[in-house]
Amino acid sequence: MQRYSVFAVAREAMRQHTGWHRAWASRAPRKSYDVIIVGAGGHGLATAYYLGKNHGLTNVAVIEKGWLGGGNTGRNTTIIRSNYLQDPSAAIYEKARSLYETISQDLNYNVMFSPRGVMMLAQTEHEIRGYQRTAHANSLQGVQTEFISPQRVKELCPIIEIRGPRYPVLGALWQARGGTARHDAVAWGYARACSDMGMDIIQQCEVTGVRSENGQVTGVETTKGAIGCNKLGIVVAGHSGVLAEMAGFRLPIESVALQALVSEPIKPCMDVVVMANTVHGYMSQSDKGEMVIGGGADGYNNYTQRGSFLHIEETVRALVETFPIISRLKMLRQWGGIVDMTGDRSPIISPTPLGNCFINCGWGTGGFKAIPGSGWATAEMIARGTPGPLAAAFGLERFREGRFIDESVAAGVAH
């Protein structure tokens, strides 16, 4: 792989940047692979990457209907945190967060992970108790968080109005090592590393069917022809239900639009990520200077990647109230992504009723932060044929058994 470094950039500057290689190869599909991953988003690419890196499986294709990283990986608000309540969630999100710490070096691609700190505001007595509980749980889970006072909130983020008037800030759950990363770069960095390991990333290739024999998967049909495989990983977020139907099973999933927006760029005024769940909004400032804003998901199922303006309004209202200075900033752009929601709002990382077919989905509104951990756990499951400890609790059978991993008490609506 062509190494990226300041020296490489300097060298290329001297020859007008003519020497840069493609970040990832563009190849036609081969006849068959050991493993096919459907979906070249962050989770799919990370799964492929760790299949190669951790398990030595490199005869792998990642198939993508559109352009890689073009789904929720490129549409989220880039927040990374692991201050989850339930043990299985904390384990996989903290795994992901800790991998993010070194991912730029691992991939030789700067994904700009910025551990600037994430705070979740407590604005009711109920939220105080919820976040205190999370802090206790995190202290046993190896996740560093603390419950901080309103004064500390104000120090860390001077533009917050902590006195209300409607919902004064009563404290916050603070994860200093949470933060943000450049979302596109995560997909691109993984894609480049996968391509370098000899894997094929095949874009503009839609899966139209899943082939099987005797209850075992044998390949997929695509708009670029049939491709065989020994194992299949379905990692397609909002379209999981569609792929599952092709593979002959159903998922406890609903697809809804989740929207986000950014302001015009301004000079730095906010160095942390703030989530305010009572009022339904969260905000951070990108390195470009835009205020990056998100809120609750739409209330109805859809696949359009557009949302209703109602939710934008609700979110902006909440944030103007929380950060009064943004009133005179302008909304530059709004967009939506399709998120796949499970009944307990936790993901599915699971074998499926079809042999050697595995699925990773259901990340709902919180998938970006999990990408490295999700890829790690999914790769382990595909390589071994059975889930490892990180994925074990996220099996499909939990819905049948009632073994939910419900984060609602801690996660509220927002991720």
């Binding site: 470094s5 950039v9 300097a10 007008q16 840069w20 990832w24 563009s26 073009g70 490129g74 043990d87 299985p88 384990a91 730029s104 700067n110 600037r116 604005q123 109920h126 509980r133 206790h136 749980a137 202290s139 046993l140 533009i159 008037p165 409607r166 919902y167 450049r182 770069a185 691109w188 302001s263 015009e264 760029p265 301004i266 000079k267 009022v279 470009k288 200077g289 557009r306 303006f309 934008i312 309004e313 103007v320 009064p324 200075i325 943004i326 009133s327 005179r328 900033l329 302008k330 909304m331 709004q334 009944g343 400890p389 990180l390 074990a392 058994e401 009632g402 939910f404 419900d406 008490v409």
Partner: protein, 1004 residues
């Protein structure tokens, strides 16, 4: 140098000078100026710095597409960053400062980035800054953040207010140029409700600048007459300064009105957000001229040819003394001719086409203007502004043939229809080879719920560039829209216009076509974000082949203008690099809003006290006046406690508990949900909804009921009251009232629609007061009335109605505290009077009001669970020892099957117990009980957790409830609980009922 002409300027009122300042310098403009025109009139060519390289920037456009001329407008509570000078109308006292430089606009240290630009190509930051690892957060990123961003962050609360406005119309016409006016006129003639909006302050659009004869007269006459005619129609509304911001599903349109940006003042809302529901929409949003890509095209002094005409005609401002025009079409010759006619020098027209023989070029030549065909600009000369151009052959590599001294370069690369609003909701585009632009594909319009198109497009926005065609098309579009909205337009004749013929445009995406890297790295595509031709080519070289990849990798089109000037040019470069056709590469997605709209406008009136509705019980004001310490609960506020004198809140809570237990207390329980369920099937319905048997509840009786989700988890609890044969009153938690009412309706409407049941949420119809404590009965009896309150007539868990004192009342003998307790409901209008009457009657008994925290403590002392404390969405009634409330007789109810699943019947589920610290202290909220070892993921094992914890004034020690593994079988065992920052705390497992376990006190 740019300057004001001695006369001219259609928009100007030269008798009304306006004082304003730029970077502290006092300047003068006229009424009717924009900030951009006024700055140019004052010779201020340099207005800002670009984002990445901090390059000097001047005005390049005259409208919403402007990427360069952004300023900090105003100060303090009226500071607005990134305000476009081209759309900012000048007002007296306007204060603007330029952005993104230090220490000054003229001398900016950040301009070093431009010198280093060869080291900073597209995406350079993905390839470096990785080592040492800690440097990203502490060194590189802070540096990048500091040099990025544009305007200043405001640091004060906004002084202005905003509002929303809702309207439904048959036909919405967006754009007040001749196309929009004609479409509105025809639609209006049908009697349909029509709304016509225009983003600027003037009607007529470009027609005014490019003098067009309409129906044989000057366009001004027709525009004026049409506006008059529209104003005379009762069914038509016209609004200027209202921009169509976004088109959403089902004909929902957002429009953004700038009410007093042009005249800031207190008392008027600054912006108004229009929420329009339109049956049919006509977008007549015009077109935007494209720049050309030649080296040095970003220098101040280079601007769009059409913008130069706008400044001349509308504002009487010339961009400079000596203009070179560079073009690939005939339209730019209009600029040449206009300059010439105004006596301004046109040094040359550089036309990239091999020949230019249309009427306009011919007229230019006849006027003596030098026209160079087949030529291109090799390079613009100058450092901080245009000083001249070097000319070369378009087909070559840039060998300089000639140099021309000039101070303005006016460029025209053709016109791109404004297709944003068409595209927001799924309208598709088609590539028009002849015009070299994307225009709406009329066959693929946004489709409404009825399967029919609901957006029409006309005028330049539809790709038409000749006035005659525009008017005919607009006439038809207006008629079609009215018809589709169910009205009959009066078919008259479309007005006619005379437009000179124009020779075809020749697509020119790079100048000269064989330019080498040196030149390509100086050809700007995105002026604000500093994206150059070489950057897009690098992206393609590195495999960022999707247009979305290129956009994200290079930041092309992601600036505040959202690529209005840059996208098509960038796209063309990309497709060329990939050897693909432009339509095959496609565009990025058009997202609302068309131009940025203020957060204030989106939030509207909902700020401060109006942020969310505040629900108030009838006694709210009494609580406020009597020192309530408030707690937000849903949209309500409830008194947490009523501190007296110098008491702390904690002391008040302890006093309130003691007083209630020993004498008598009053609780405002009005916020508790009260849902009436009535009908022949009400009993059967409630049997399905609650885990308990409800239908058999005798008249006059109350029963504690549980509701679970279909997944088995406990979601709400409360007392159910049998009011009559076919009606029940269901109490819910305060936070649950609306949710549970919705839950009931959802089941009734979607699953059990055959049941004859009505529900009504009566929460706010009653004031409900809990009279609690040993003297509760005495207080009520002191008020008199016709209700017999004694234990035999009104036993525990019974209810009755009648009069207490002068009040109509329902009295429920229920208790959430373990004390003798009556909850009394009176009509909401009588609530405060009843509350006062109770206080007065209770005075001799020492009555005191108590708040939510005393309520919580008393219920915890009694071992009663609280939804949201003991439950968190993962807890089933069986975990809480509430088996008794789950019917074994009923065939089915919500959660029955769910609770039979493996994990629900697992004996290892944590169970409710009481917890008592060994040392009497209070356990921390949310603490976990430690177990031995770690799980497979390295996390400490746990065996329980605290769900509620308080200091009990009754017992004088800390008490808690919690869920513990095999808890009820482990009475007396001591567990260790987490204590952040300290040693674990030991607590003993005990019964959760700490107070009066026999229940004697509540049953007297």
């Amino acid at each position: 140098m740019s300057a004001r002409l001695p006369k001219g300027g259609r928009f100007l009122n030269r008798s009304q000078p306006i004082e304003f300042s730029f970077n502290g310098k006092q300047l003068q403009g006229f009424e009717g100026d924009t900030l951009a025109s006024a700055l140019m009139a004052n010779g201020q060519q340099l207005v800002g710095r670009s984002f990445k390289y901090h390059r000097p920037r001047g005005v390049v456009a005259s409208g919403a597409e402007e990427p360069n001329a952004l300023v900090n407008l105003g100060t303090g509570r009226r500071l607005e960053p990134n305000q476009r000078a081209t759309t900012t109308e000048l007002f007296e006292g306007l204060e603007a400062t330029s952005q993104n430089h230090w220490p000054s606009l003229e001398f900016d240290v950040g301009a070093i980035n431009a010198r280093l630009s060869r080291f900073l190509p597209a995406g350079f930051y993905y390839k470096m800054f990785m080592w040492p690892r800690a440097f990203w957060k502490h060194v590189y990123e802070p540096f990048i953040r500091q040099s990025a961003g544009l305007g200043k962050a405001p640091n004060a609360r906004d002084a202005d207010t905003y509002e929303h406005f809702n309207i439904t119309v048959d036909v919405l016409v967006i754009g007040g140029g001749i196309a929009g006016l004609e479409a509105a006129r025809v639609a209006g003639s049908s009697g349909a409700q029509v709304l016509l909006i225009e983003q600027t302050a003037q009607w007529g659009g470009r027609a005014n600048v490019d003098a067009t004869l309409i129906d044989g007269a000057d366009e001004e006459h027709w525009i004026e007459a049409t506006v008059d005619a529209l104003e005379d129609m009762d069914n038509v509304r016209l609004r200027t300064r209202v921009m169509g911001a976004g088109v959403y599903d089902h004909g929902y349109v957002l429009a953004y009105e700038r009410l007093c940006d042009h005249d800031p003042q207190d008392g008027l809302p600054r912006h108004r957000l229009w929420k329009i529901r339109a049956r049919q929409i006509v977008t007549a949003t015009g077109a935007i001229e494209r720049p050309l890509s030649f080296a040095g095209n970003d220098l101040p002094g280079v601007l769009l040819a059409s913008a130069q005409r706008d400044y001349l005609i509308n504002y009487g401002v010339s961009a400079g003394d000596r203009t070179v025009i560079v073009t690939n079409n005939d339209d730019a010759y209009r600029t040449a001719l206009m300059l010439h006619n105004l006596g301004l020098e046109v040094k040359a027209v550089i036309d990239a086409r091999a020949e230019a023989n249309g009427p306009l070029p011919v007229a230019a030549r006849e006027a003596g203007i030098r026209v160079e065909t087949g030529k291109a600009i090799a390079k613009v000369k100058g450092v901080a502004r245009v000083e001249g151009v070097a000319i070369c052959a378009q087909v070559g590599e840039g060998a300089v043939l000639d140099e021309i001294a000039c101070d303005v370069v006016a460029m025209s690369g053709g016109w791109s229809p404004v297709v944003h609003l068409w595209s927001h909701c799924g309208g598709k585009l088609v590539w028009d080879d002849a015009q070299a632009h994307f225009r709406p594909d009329p066959g693929k319009a946004p489709i409404g719920a009825d399967g029919h198109a609901f957006v029409h497009t006309t005028g330049a926005a539809s790709g038409l560039l000749k006035s005659d065609e525009i008017l005919q098309n607009a006439h038809d579009a207006g008629a079609d829209a009215a018809k589709a909205a169910g009205h009959k337009p009066k078919r008259g004749k479309a007005p006619t216009a005379a437009s000179p013929d124009e020779a075809p445009i020749e697509p020119v995406w790079m100048m000269p076509q064989g330019a080498g890297h040196e030149l390509r790295s100086k050809m700007w595509l995105d002026f604000q974000n500093d994206v150059k031709v070489s950057d897009v080519q690098l992206a393609a070289q590195e495999g960022f082949e999707s247009v979305e990849h290129t956009k994200r990798y290079t930041t092309l089109g992601m600036a505040t203008d959202q690529g209005k000037l840059s996208n098509i040019n960038g796209l063309a470069i990309l497709s060329k690099s990939l050897g693909a056709d432009i339509p095959a590469v496609g565009t990025t997605t058009f997202r609302p809003p068309y131009t940025p709209i203020s957060m204030g406008a989106i939030a509207g009136e909902a700020r401060g006290k109006l942020f969310q509705p505040l629900r108030r019980t009838p006694m709210h004001d009494w609580h406020e006046a009597n020192g309530a310490h408030w707690e937000p609960v849903g949209h309500w506020r409830r008194p947490y406690a009523f501190p007296r004198g110098s008491e702390t809140v904690e002391q008040a809570v302890q006093r309130e508990v003691k007083n209630t237990r020993e004498a008598v207390g009053l609780l405002d329980a009005s916020t508790l949900g009260k849902i009436l369920v009535k009908g022949p099937d009400a009993g059967a319905f409630l049997d399905l909804l609650y885990t308990n048997m409800v239908s058999t509840l005798p008249l006059g009786r109350c029963r504690y009921g549980l509701m679970c989700s279909e997944n088995g988890f406990l979601i709400d609890d409360g007392v159910i009251v049998r009011l009559s044969e076919d009606s029940w009153l269901c109490h819910t938690t305060t936070g649950g009232a609306d949710r549970i009412h919705g839950h009931m309706e959802e089941w009734l409407q979607t699953e059990w629609w055959d049941m004859q049941v009505h529900t009504a949420n009566l929460t706010e119809q009653y004031a409900q007061i809990a009279v609690v404590g040993p003297d509760a009965r005495n207080v009520l009896e002191a008020l008199g009335g016709d209700i017999d309150l004694d234990a035999e007539t009104l036993p525990f868990m019974h209810w009755t109605e009648g009069r207490i004192g002068d009040f109509d009342a329902r009295v429920f003998r229920i208790s959430f505290s373990g004390e003798l307790s009556y909850e009394v409901a009176v009509p909401a209008s009588q609530g405060l009077a009843f509350w006062n009457a109770l206080l007065k009657a209770g005075e001799v008994f020492g009555v005191m009001p108590y708040g939510t925290e005393a309520l919580h403590i008393m219920r915890a002392e009694k071992g009663f669970i609280m939804i949201g404390d003991e439950t968190d969405g993962t807890v089933i009634p069986q975990d809480l020892g509430l088996h008794w409330a789950i019917s074994k007789k009923k065939a089915d109810f919500l959660s029955k099957r769910a609770q039979e699943r493996d994990h629900m019947t697992d004996p290892d589920r944590w169970q409710l117990v009481g917890l008592e610290t060994v040392d009497g202290s209070v356990l921390p909220d949310g603490a976990y009980a430690l177990a031995e070892g770690r799980n497979e993921n390295g996390q400490r094992n746990t065996q329980g957790r605290v769900t509620s914890t308080y200091h009990s004034p009754t017992l004088g020690r800390g008490i808690a409830m919690g869920l513990v593994l095999h808890g009820p079988e482990r009475m007396g065992e001591v567990l260790k609980f987490t204590n952040i920052g300290g040693a674990p705390i030991e607590a003993r497992i005990v019964s959760p009922v700490f107070y009066d376990p026999e229940g004697k006190k509540q049953n007297v």
